[in-house]
């Protein structure tokens, strides 16, 4: 084992972990000159905790989050912290947010939260912020600057129109394929905040941005989309190494735009089809994406999962922990200049479940 580098250990460890669900121990080995700056963090997203009534919740979605939390606690070396990528709740109810947070409270270590549209539109994020604090913020960790944005805002006029109730507005936004859907956006105020936040950061500092929706445009009809993505990307452009991590899409997506690497998170609740499988409208899935295996609905947790991120030399390698599926790692390749699925085959040689139609 002594010759194995740290990332291999993490990768192999993850495979063992998913297979056995037993604690594993890994030896941390030197990795380059900046090894003391290397670290990992876990990344869980999209649990969609759903209240049926009273203290009764949809079992399936509860189980997904409980499993991700349990497996995260078994990671060794321990991740420095955990990110939760948004959509704790299905309809933003205090009962759903609280139930989700109760499950997440079993996590050992700090958790940083991202706002999802399912957390937001019933009361415009009031209860979420009461429990978790601001919906956009930044912090520094071992030389990396982390930025969290609330990217699921939309037109003010739509948000503040006369609604029968907040729940009425929530249900409009909760329907992914709503023909009257509104586009997500970060908005001018937060972009201004980001501009100021980044002023004090040197161009060599690695930046990791977390948002709920992709800060790129993939498929508008399902809001795999942020309307002012280009404006946000422009603010990130001056930096050498930028990684954007997002939830919302419930599937593996990989992209590189200029200096920015993009990775999507799996949901713990349920998978979503790739937009290309809806043949009535055009979509733009990034070509670097190696699609996840098609779901086997008979296995409840199939095509769901969670991630841990290995940050080294300022780049982020994303390992996907996929129940009942082969785990995947999408790692930044200095040679290619973009993230590469380390287990991927050439496009024409993918396994049958990777062919979505």
């Amino acid at each position: 084992m002594s010759k194995i580098n740290r990332r291999d250990v993490l990768r192999n460890g993850a495979a063992v972990l998913a297979a056995s669900s037993l604690p594993i121990s890994m030896v941390e080995l030197a990795f380059g000159a900046d090894s003391d700056q290397n670290f990992t963090f876990a990344y869980i997203s999209d649990s969609h905790i759903t209240q049926i009534k009273g203290n009764e919740f949809v079992r399936n979605w509860d189980r997904g989050l409980i499993r991700a939390v349990a497996e995260t606690n078994l990671l060794d070396p321990k991740p420095d912290f955990v990110f939760y990528g948004g959509d704790i709740a299905q309809l933003g109810k205090p009962e759903e947010i609280d139930h989700g947070l109760e499950i997440l409270s079993a996590l050992r270590g700090d958790v940083h939260y991202v706002m999802g549209e399912h957390d937001y539109y019933v009361d415009l994020g009031e209860y979420w912020r009461k429990q978790l604090g601001p919906d956009h913020y930044s912090f520094d960790h071992k030389g990396v600057h982390f930025v969290v944005l609330n990217s699921i805002l939309t037109h003010e006029k739509w948000m503040h129109q006369k609604w029968q109730s907040g729940m009425d507005r929530m249900k409009q936004m909760a329907r992914l394929d709503n023909p009257d859907g509104q586009p997500f956006m970060v908005g001018e105020a937060q972009r201004e905040w980001l501009r100021n936040d980044l002023k004090k950061i040197s161009k060599e500092t690695p930046i990791v941005v977390l948002s709920h929706s992709p800060l790129q445009k993939i498929f508008k009809s399902w809001n795999f989309w942020t309307d002012d993505a280009e404006e946000v990307q422009a603010l990130l452009k001056p930096f050498d190494k930028v990684t954007v991590l997002y939830g919302h899409v419930h599937q593996i997506q990989t992209n590189q735009i200029g200096n920015i690497s993009f990775h999507a998170a799996m949901a713990t609740a349920w998978p979503w089809p790739y937009p290309s499988t809806y043949t009535q409208k055009a979509s733009y899935l990034p070509k670097l994406t190696v699609e996840m295996n098609r779901a086997d609905p008979f296995f409840e947790r199939d095509a769901t999962g969670w991630q841990f991120i290995d940050v080294h030399t300022g780049r982020a390698d994303v390992s996907y922990l996929l129940p009942d599926n082969k785990n995947r790692t999408v790692a930044y390749s200095e040679k290619a200049g973009h993230p590469v699925d380390t287990g991927s085959r050439k496009t024409d040689d993918r396994s049958p479940p990777q062919k979505h139609f």
């Binding site: 089809p273 809806y278 043949t279 609905p297 008979f298």
Partner: protein
Amino acid sequence: MNQNRKYPSIIGALSMLLGLYGPGAVADEFSDADIDRWEMEYEVVVEEGEKLFHGGLGNQNTVSCDQCHPNGANTHPETYPKFQQQLGKVATLWEMINWCIENPLQAEKLAADDPKLIALQAYITEERKGVELMPGKH
């Protein structure tokens, strides 16, 4: 023989008297108005299916079809009937819909001729229109 021959003409004459056929009308012809009406009948059922698909089934756990299948995607109506390995037999689309109703939706399955099941199939197939039929495909 002669008597048998007489019956059709008698039925024809009776029908004319009762106004069942217009003058010169033939049973297998239909008008643009007919087509419009039939399409409308279909669209009404598709719309009903869309509502059922988006939370209209009234299942107690509130989980809806569109949560996993936005726009009916990843339902592959064009591939049925096909061998469904989890069931160990060739299955039809409506059997798979019932599987979803019983499992993620935690509700009672519908009869094959239940108008709700027909409406769900109409919606799912409408969202997939234009795709080549590929029965048996995986």
